[in-house]
Symmetry: C2
Subunit: 137 residues, 2 copies
């Protein structure tokens, strides 16, 4: 399952993308305006920063800003950064087809189902969300 943390990270990026480029927003402000747990916002920003997507300046009048074009970040990327690799079944995490059987038709079904899902998550970007919905979940 896609975790709430991943969802929160998407919302944080969307919030940042909905501010004029170059301006900074404090993590508390992000948390308040999107009704997210403030401590989680800080925690997630650390991961987004590590990815190079966001950066912050400290001290009074400091804050966070987006460092990349929001159209360059799709939802699959955000989810995988926060949650790790996506897999709708455990089967898809192991790189060898289950145990000692040569091929596994179930695995093929899982893979097709998952790819169908991922194609949607890949084609939607943070920019899309920022444009279409000023305020989200």
């Amino acid at each position: 399952m896609i975790t709430k943390k991943a969802e929160y990270a998407i919302i944080i990026l969307t919030e940042l993308a909905s501010h004029p480029q170059g301006t900074v927003v404090t993590s508390k402000e992000i948390a308040r305006s999107r009704a997210l747990p403030p401590n989680l916002v800080v925690q997630l920003l650390a991961v987004l920063k590590e990815e190079g997507w966001t950066g912050g300046t400290r001290g009074p009048s400091g804050g966070i800003k987006l460092l990349v074009d929001p159209s360059e970040i799709n939802l699959r990327q955000v989810i995988e950064i926060i949650d790790g690799p996506i897999g709708i079944t455990r089967c898809l995490f192991s790189d060898t087809p289950c145990q000692n059987k040569t091929h596994c038709s179930l695995r093929g079904v899982w893979a097709r189902a998952q790819n169908n899902m991922l194609s949607v998550l890949e084609e939607v970007t943070i920019r899309d969300l920022a444009e279409k919905a000023p305020r989200d979940c």
Copy 2:
């Protein structure tokens, strides 16, 4: 995530479907031939029985058999019987769009992604698996 239990249930049904109609198989035989934990097989068969898909006769020379046409059972059904409703995010479990916002574009994305996945799981039946793969995960 689709649990191993759901996957096991699919495998159990596939195993049953790969035997001549009307013949019975013991739960231990199912477990052995597909390398599943025997106790879990028993546990899952209880659920499948409740659904009316399988039935058993007790005692010596007893066993389990399929009660319905395997082409009538698709993977989505099995997963939902075992795991409960499918949701790739928590958001999709609540029937009201998040909190106090009128609409949520993220929710729409999740729904589209999930439906793309489900369409694959709905179009594949136990019969398909039984035909294409004698032995699976």
